[in-house]
Structures are given as structure tokens and as C-alpha cells.
Amino acid sequence: MEHLDPSLVDWSRAQFALTALYHWIFVPLTLGLTFIVAIMESIYVKTGDEWWKNTTKFWMGLLAINFAIGLATGIIMEFEFGTNWSNYSWIVGDIFGAPLAIEGLMAFFMESTFFAIMFFGWEKVSKRAHLLSTWLVAVGSNLSALWILVANGWMQHPVGMHFNPDTARNEMTDFWAILFNPNAYSKFLHTISGGYVLAALFVIAISSWYLLKKRNIQFARRSIMVAASFGLIVSLFNVTTGDDSARQVAQHQPVKLAAMEGLYDGKPGAEIVAFGILNPNKKINDTQDPFLFKLAIPYGLSVLSYHKLDAYVPGLKQLVYGDKEKQIMSAQGKMDRGTKAVTALTNYKKAKASKDKLAQAAALKAFDADSAYLGYGYLKAPEEVIPPVATTFYAFHTMVIFGSWFILLFMIILYLTMTNELHTKRWALWAGVLSLPMGYAAQEAGWITAEVGRQPWAIQDMLPVGMATSNISSGSVMITFWMFAVLFTALLIAEVSIMTTQIKIGPKEAKHV
């Protein structure tokens, strides 16, 4: 076996995390703001009120800034696949090729045609044609996200494929199974609705700032009315998609669910922790309480996971060490079967080289019997299946607590706007402004939950991260990590700087994008 520097895996992980987290600063705002802009333009077309046209143009200008700064930040992840994750990209290439190619074509055609009409076509095409383009940009950018999330959903729950031991690739056997993978579409809906919530917070925060400064009052009130209505609807939808997403995790990634809840001992009628402080000294084998403090809702986790009050939810102990009564296979049992799969693959390779057809068929049969556990054959200890519990737990709870606050905020802001009191309630306006960074934090926390929670897997149960990594110098990964940190920070400073300049200018000046 080639020696792989353990720090290489960590640096590769860190670099990918950095890239993905920075990329995700820009994407969700685009996903949601396109819809808010489309709603505002629809009001303009319906009422013929030029004022709504100027309002639409202002928010469209901020959308353009966010889009321009964020453009192509995701492409870096593709570079990293080829360099840092060459084994992984080879193994998944056949699966990811189709969705990512569709995404690339869709993004290109959408951006070069409808985006152009949206920004250049105000006086060139009819009102309705322009509105149609704006809606198509909104729908198209969200469909573009669909293909990325189909790929991500597949990594969390691989379906519709077969591992070919001759090519060492997962080959697609059922495109529709991959597209309609329940994990993929629940993730897609939860992710885009999260983006809509962020966009609503963005509009509310900037409009609240105008009201605090006592300028652009009418613009701010009307923008807040649209954003708070939109935000309330999409945040409630976000709760339902989150519920579906949690059930998918319970079924296909139970270890992640246990880590999200800090659940070490499984039980029927399991409670859900609304707020908690984990015991940092807790080990899986000891009898210490996992929490220093917690506020829990009885039966909440059983209901969330299986929609039943008394449903049994396995904890980390059962998932690692197994539970015969509950028919839960131990991680060691899975490792044994994974080792058999690796051995069978080795035998297949040898038999193929020696052109021994009989031995080849026997090895293939043995491999197929245990291939579902292939990834476990690369683990050294059963405890390796546990992701970082504290990171997963706190990220998940940050997302949920902030998400719950946003629902309340949208209700308060909407009520105060409808009663015409908002401009007099400075506390509510400050809450609107300060909730924007919380929106970004919730977005990032969601992805941290999804990705840290699925460790150690690059592909669930099939390929651990250590096996996915290219054997390159950790020093080069370290250099590019810091290079990206500087580059992305510069992009973020540019975005904030250009954006704040435009916000200070205000809607009246933003007539041309």
C-alpha cells in the first residue's frame, strides 16, 4: 500500500470545506433573490406602476453584484476533484457526468439568453417577454442547483448504479432512480427553500436599514411587505422539507442522525434536544451523561425520524457495536464483510490477469455478495464510523434555532408592516438587520451538518474519504488552501464593498445595471 500522509486527508478535507463554504455564501442569495425580483416585476406588469419597475431594478442590481462575484467560485471544486480527489472522481465519474453536464449546458444557455434579456431588455422587449425572462432566470437557476444536489444526494445515498470491477467505476444503471433519489429531492427542496429564506432576510435587512436611516421609506416598506410575505411562506415550506430531509437521514444515514442529536443510547420514544451543551469528555464506551445541559422535547426525535411517537431511534452505541434484538449489524460486522469484498476484488483482479475465467466468476460472485459493504473494508476500527459529534450537533442546532427565529421574525415584521407600525419599532428594524448574518450562518450550518455528519464517507458506505484522496504532497494542498483563503476573502470584501456602495446610493440611482 502506498503510504498516505494523514495530514494530506485533513488538508484536502479542509480545502474542500473552505471552497464549498465560501461558494455557498453567494449561491443561496442568487437562488432566492431571483424569485423576489420576479415577484416584484410581476406586480409592476400587473399594476403598470413605474415605481415597482425601479424597485425591481434596484434589487436586480444587487442580484447582479452577487451573481458576478459568486460566478465560477464553484468551478474550483471541480479542479479539486481532479487533483486532490482523483480516486473519487474516477469512481463516480460515470454517475456525475450526466447531471453535471446538464447543469453546465443549462447554466450556459440560461445565463447567455434570459439573463441578458433580464438585464439588457427593459426597453427592447415587451413587458411580458421581459417578465417571462425574469421568471425563467429564477426557475433556471434553481434547476441548475437541482443537478448539483442530485449529485450530492447520490453521495449520501448511492442508488441506480453498479460498481464495475473491470473499470473501477460506478456505472449508471438507472438515471431516473438517481434523479428521483428521495435523498436528492428532499435535499434539493430544503436547500433552495433555505436560499429563499436568506433572500427574504437580505431584502428585509437592507430595507430595515433604510427605515432606521429614515430614507427611501416607501421603497423600504413595499420591499419589506414582499420579502416578509415571501419569507414566511418559504420558511414554513422549509420546515416541511427539513422534516422530510430528517426522515431520509434516519433511514439511510442513522449514524449522522445520532450525531446530530448527540444520541448515544437508542430508545423508543426518543426525545429531541431543542437546546443543549454537550459533555466534551463523553466517550462512546463510558457511562457519562452526553450532555452538561439540555432542553428536550419528549418523543420529538421519534416523531421527526419515523412519524411515530414510540418509534425506536438507534444511538451511536447500537450503530457502532450492533444490537441483535433490534437487528442492527455492528460496524465490525460490516467491516468483516467489507474486507471480504476487498479480498474478492483483489482475487478478481488476479484471476483476470491470469485469464482464469472460473476463478474470475467465483471472485465476482463473492464481490457482489458483499459489495454493499465495500467501504467498511477500508476502516481500521469500528469507531471510525462516528462523525465529529460536537460539530454535527452544534451545526444542526444552530440551523434549527436560527430557522425557527426566522419564522417568528417574518411574522412580526409582516404584522408590523400591515399595521403600519414597523418604522416606529426600532427594535424590530434592528432585528431585521441583525438577522441577515444569522441567515448566512444558518446556511453554512446546514451544509456543515450534511457534510461533517456523513464522515468518514465520501460515498456513503462505499468509499471513505481516506480512499478517495489522491496521493499528492500535503504541502501543495496546504499552499493552495491558503491561496484560496486569500482569494475568497478578497472576493467577499469586493462583494461587501460594491454591495454597500450600491445600497448607500439607494434605489433612485439604480436605473441601469
Binding site: F119, F120, A168
Partner: protein, 69 residues
Amino acid sequence: MLKIIYHFYRDGFRNMKLGKRLWVFIAVKLFILFVVVKYFFFPNILEEKFNNDEQRSDYVLQQLTQGKK
């Protein structure tokens, strides 16, 4: 038709204000990403190391059958 499309884009770009700055920004960023970052720092390991897919398959298969990392 092509003339209309050409004029549409030409006039659109000409009338841009903030957009011009953003396009400069995009051009510089794409140059850094695709020319500097991709070319100097992110080679495709399997593409560079091997000549064909068979060799790439063999290499990855070798990695997968050598066991624990």
C-alpha cells in the same frame, strides 16, 4: 435576426454602468481561476499520469485493492 441579436447585446453592454465594473471583475477572476489556479496548481492527476482509461482503471483498482490507508 442575427443582426437584431448582435445589436441587442452591443447596446446592452454599451449602456451598462455598474455592469462594466462587474464584467472587468468577472474577466480578472476567470483569468486567475482558469489560467493561474488551474494551470499551475490543479493538474488532473489521472489525466497527466496515464495515457488511457485502461491505465487509469488499473491504477484506481490497485488503490482499492491495496487495503486500508
